[in-house]
Amino acid sequence: MSEKDPRKLADCLKGKKVLLMAGQLCEEIDFGNKKLLDYVVEISNRIGAPIAATGNTPLSLKAKGAKSVRKMWAAEVVNYMRWPWEDPVIDRKPDLLVLIGYGPAVAQGLASAVRDGETMALGNTYVKGATYSLPDSPSLGKWQQSLEEIVQALG
């Protein structure tokens, strides 16, 4: 499903057990006035979702005030979705995994491997293997705009 309206994606985040996955691109993407990391923190704080910080993101996320962050490896998170959930990053298996900060191929691989739960890709391209995904963004600016809209819609 390519959900073109970011506000509808924001609605999908509400009322669900959400685990955010923050990948290495969160460290690398700087939109100028904000970093991709900032959006992860804002979404996390607004919906009270913990963050599985993958790549080298844990220190930066903590520094930016994320309230619940735990270092994990991206593939591990998806792997644990196959079994009874025991990882302390979240108290039970999430209903929805949100992927931010992964390249298109990585996000597609991770999202399509999750069978016992929903996934949402908030990347720069449409991810067909995800339950919900932002559409292709022709530029970093358009991508940022979508992320802004999601954050605003979360209230």
Partner: protein, 855 residues
């Protein structure tokens, strides 16, 4: 057994034994024990003499009597299920980027989400079948190259030509990758012919199964593993031919006491190492023979000082083992970039591990191409039987490429063309033109970023080029492996790769490094010698790379980190070239100058080119012989079990990951390694083998002497995991170094210390599993001991006092004295232990049968 008319009838098995075993060769003595080959293997025809020699010279009588060894000469995939079952039970495959529709036959397409296909194949087995197909494809070019090499060697030297990995190898460690699958004791080219024919037949069967097989996930993954094992065998065939017929230097021919400084760091690399003004011949691909032919011609005609021989990729590394004047430009993954830089006058090309538009790239810069592989390319006519003079004249006269399959001709043609060909030599964008080209980049467009497999921010850098010039592209160039996807997406059709090459050209004069050539195999006497130094080392580290990571300096960084922390580091293939670029500014030395090259602590050795990857398997699997006296001939299961639990270190595979590397990884995993693959390309493999450290039922071993089952720490948690960054790779490496086999506290201390240190340094927290690896207080990092003991007490409920542990908390919740804990958790009490109850002693099996185990 059937009884008729008072006579005992033969059973089916007895009949088969009579048919398959020559009575003269079936029985033999080992010490006081009578050995029955029919008890050891199903069928030994054609291999009896080798097995008898191996048993006589390489077996332990005590081990034979105590253990229930079963040999599988010329093994099929399904002969080797014992270890594969143990692995896949602990690490069930996780398939990513699932393909749901199967169109592999004319009954299809079948949508497997809806249910099984018409052939009964289900969704997960289909993913496993695709995994097998990738591995099979990954083997093909290597198999083809090895077949060509071996056939050529047989024609040149005859089947009786002796082969060896070096003088220090004997029957106990000769050609392990071949012997472990076939049972052969390899001594001459005819043995290699038989081994390669076996491998080719295996690949045929595996390929067929990858399209028509309808088994389970396990069946296909067992075959994928087998594909990898067979590839490592084929690589060893190559290495034996190269080393025995084509003059490759071999460490095993040298005195082991000189191995700390041999081979010397005398191989020059990088574009800047090529002497200006000299004709340049580049060899690209897998095929070594054209280079051998050309260098022989150079030597015969005293031209070695006058022509530069270069090699991006595996051939360059191969050449370095017999010709130290070679200039190794870079890795195979980046070969397109090097070629477009225009450094070569003549390119002699063969198929290799990555796809490359070699004709197109060479034509842009007027490099003449001589294609030597058996398969056609780009519609070139086959000129193998044309007169050489005509081919030379055509190429000098302006013809851009020829296809010549006759290796003996190619060397001279390449040299003579290089001597006379004229190229205008001005192919790169100037700063001014680059800025103009960059001006076409739109302000609000990043489609190139969306397309880049390394997620490089190309557009942003291009827009900086307008003002800052090409230097703004420098970080992008270092992470670009020239796939061209950015150009495909660019609406303005900006020639991004031309800009990348122009940027490369700016740094080319300083692109110089020094490396050691490959040493070849590591014989058992060096492996045994290294054991004495291991008490001061966090372990072994194997690194592989084809290049093409997000930063050209990552492999060097990793190699420096591991070796600097005291690892015994081995590197093979193009990764050695990447590692060689690492320059320690403080020491003023390149990596291979900074560290010595013994198989010992705080040393790094380059084994050689792509085919030398087989020696990684050997270096690990030899420990079964060195440490536990298990002969490896046709004895996969016992060797792999020991290797996995005791010695096989994590392997880091970094950068672009072609299908060949997928198969190599499968082979290394099967013998017991854990593979860490990254950064971005690692996620493209679509199949990972991940454990779950929360599931205690998966983490246990069997005491081989009693059969007692013991819960262990979840060491070696994964056997194939992708990572995003080099820091993740470094940290999870230390995690995977935690082995149930490390029953000596100093070994736990040495691997737990960097694990915790890296985790805290890069991620700012303690790992969530460190407490499971602690068995005594002496396992804990010295400087962190007080803090960690406090954590054990307060968070995990252990009973500690001062710097000692009085009672440990078992994962089942019980608080146990240290003696009880040592008995019930991990491996402190077992002399040896196995990952599966099928690999314990005869006596232990008796005990297990009483408990209802099917062993």
């Amino acid at each position: 057994m059937h009884i008729r008319k008072g006579k005992t009838m033969e059973t089916m098995e007895e009949k088969l034994v009579r048919k398959r075993f020559d009575p003269e060769k079936r029985f033999m003595e080992l010490g006081k024990t009578k050995i029955d080959l029919a008890r050891l293997c199903r069928d030994a025809r054609g291999i009896e003499d080798d097995l008898r020699q191996v048993i006589k010279e390489d077996w332990s009588e005590a081990r034979y009597n105590d253990w229930d060894t079963r040999l599988h000469p010329f093994a099929e995939a399904s002969d080797l299920v014992v270890q594969d079952e143990a692995l896949l039970n602990n690490y069930p495959p996780l398939y990513t980027d699932i393909q749901t529709v199967c169109s592999d036959c004319d009954n299809g397409p079948c949508d497997l989400v809806e249910g099984e296909g018409l052939c009964s194949l289900a969704l997960d087995p289909f993913q496993a079948r695709l995994s097998l197909r990738v591995a099979c494809r990954g083997c093909q070019s290597q198999f083809m190259d090895t077949r060509g090499l071996l056939d050529y060697a047989v024609r040149e030297f005859g089947r009786d030509k002796e082969v060896s990995l070096g003088a220090r190898h004997d029957i106990s460690d000769q050609a392990l990758s071949i012997a472990i699958l076939t049972g052969q004791y390899v001594r001459n080219l005819s043995h290699l012919e038989r081994a390669l024919a076996y491998a080719e037949a295996q690949l045929n069967k595996l390929f067929l199964a990858s399209y028509q097989g309808t088994g389970s996930v396990f069946d296909f993954e067992n075959m994928t593993f087998h594909c990898g094992s067979v590839l490592l065998l084929v690589q060893e065939v190559s290495e034996l031919v190269k080393g025995s017929c084509f003059g490759f230097q071999k460490g095993a021919d040298r005195d082991k006491l000189e191995m700390d400084h041999w081979p010397p760091p005398n191989i020059m690399g990088g574009l800047g190492s090529i002497e200006k003004g000299k004709p340049v011949i580049a060899f690209v691909g897998d095929n070594l023979l054209p280079a051998w032919s050309a260098i022989n011609y150079l030597k015969e005609n005293e031209l070695t000082e006058k022509i530069e021989i270069c090699g991006p990729g595996p051939v360059g590394l191969d050449i370095a083992r017999f010709y130290d004047r070679v200039r190794i430009v870079g890795t195979m993954a980046n070969a397109g970039k090097w070629i477009r830089s225009g450094f070569a006058d003549v390119i002699v090309a063969s198929s290799g591990c990555v796809s490359l538009d070699i004709l197109g790239e060479a034509k842009r810069v007027e490099s003449r191409v001589i294609w030597v592989s058996p398969q056609p390319i780009g519609g070139l006519p086959d000129r193998t039987d044309n007169p050489g003079e005509g081919i030379i004249n055509d190429l000098i006269g302006g013809l851009d490429a020829v296809w010549v399959r006759d290796i003996d001709k190619v060397g001279e043609i390449a040299v003579r063309v290089a001597q006379k060909v004229k190229r205008k030599g001005d192919y790169l964008l100037s700063e001014k033109k680059a800025k103009e080209e960059a001006k076409r980049c739109k302000e609000d467009c990043d489609l190139c970023f969306n397309a880049c497999p390394n997620s490089l921010l190309i557009g942003r850098a291009l827009r900086k080029v307008r003002e800052e010039g090409l230097s703004a592209l420098a970080p992008i160039e270092k992470g670009c492996y020239f796939c061209g996807k950015c150009e495909q997406q660019c609406p303005e059709k900006i020639t991004i790769r031309d800009l990348i090459v122009a940027t490369l050209n700016k740094r080319a004069p300083d692109d110089k490094f020094i490396m050691r050539s490959g040493r070849g195999s590591v014989p058992e006497d060096e492996i045994a010698r290294s054991a004495f130094t291991l008490m001061n080392s966090p372990g072994f580290c194997w690194i592989l790379s084809c290049g093409g990571g997000k930063d050209i300096e990552d492999v060097g960084w990793l190699a420096n980190e591991f070796t600097g922390k005291g690892c015994v580091t081995l590197i093979a293939g193009c990764g050695a070239v990447e590692a060689a670029r690492y320059f320690d500014r403080e020491a003023g030395k390149f990596l291979f100058e900074k560290f010595t090259c013994e198989y010992a602590v705080k040393n790094i050795s380059s084994l050689g080119g792509c085919t030398a990857m087989t020696f990684l398997q050997e270096a690990s699997a030899h420990w079964a012989r060195t440490g536990v006296h298990i002969s490896h001939y046709a004895n996969w299961a016992e060797v792999a079990d020991i290797t996995h639990r005791l010695m096989a270190p994590p392997v880091i595979i970094w950068g672009r990951c072609p299908e060949r590397m997928y198969a190599v990884a499968a082979g290394l995993i099967r013998i017991g390694h854990q593979v860490i693959v990254g950064p971005n390309a690692g996620f493209a493999w679509k199949r990972y083998l991940l454990g779950n450290h929360f599931d205690r039922s998966k983490w246990c071993v069997w005491d081989t002497s009693s059969g007692r089952k013991v819960e262990t720490e979840p060491g070696q948690e994964h056997i194939l995991i992708p990572v995003e960054t080099k820091e993740e790779a470094l940290t999870i490496f230390w995690s995977l170094q935690q082995k149930p086999g490390a029953s000596i506290s100093i070994m736990r201390l040495l691997s737990l210390t960097p694990y915790i240190a890296c985790y805290e340094k890069y991620f700012g927290e303690l790992p969530d599993d460190w407490q499971w690896y602690v068995t005594t207080a002496s396992d804990l990092p010295v400087r962190q001991k007080v803090r960690l003991l406090k954590e054990l007490k307060e968070k995990w409920g252990w009973d500690t006092e001062g710097v000692t542990i009085k009672k440990a908390r078992h994962r089942d919740g019980r608080l146990l004295t240290t003696d009880e804990f040592a008995h019930e958790y991990s491996t402190h009490e077992a002399r040896f232990f196995a990952k599966t109850p099928k690999l314990v002693t005869k006596k232990a099996k008796e005990n297990l049968r009483k408990e209802g185990y099917d062993v």
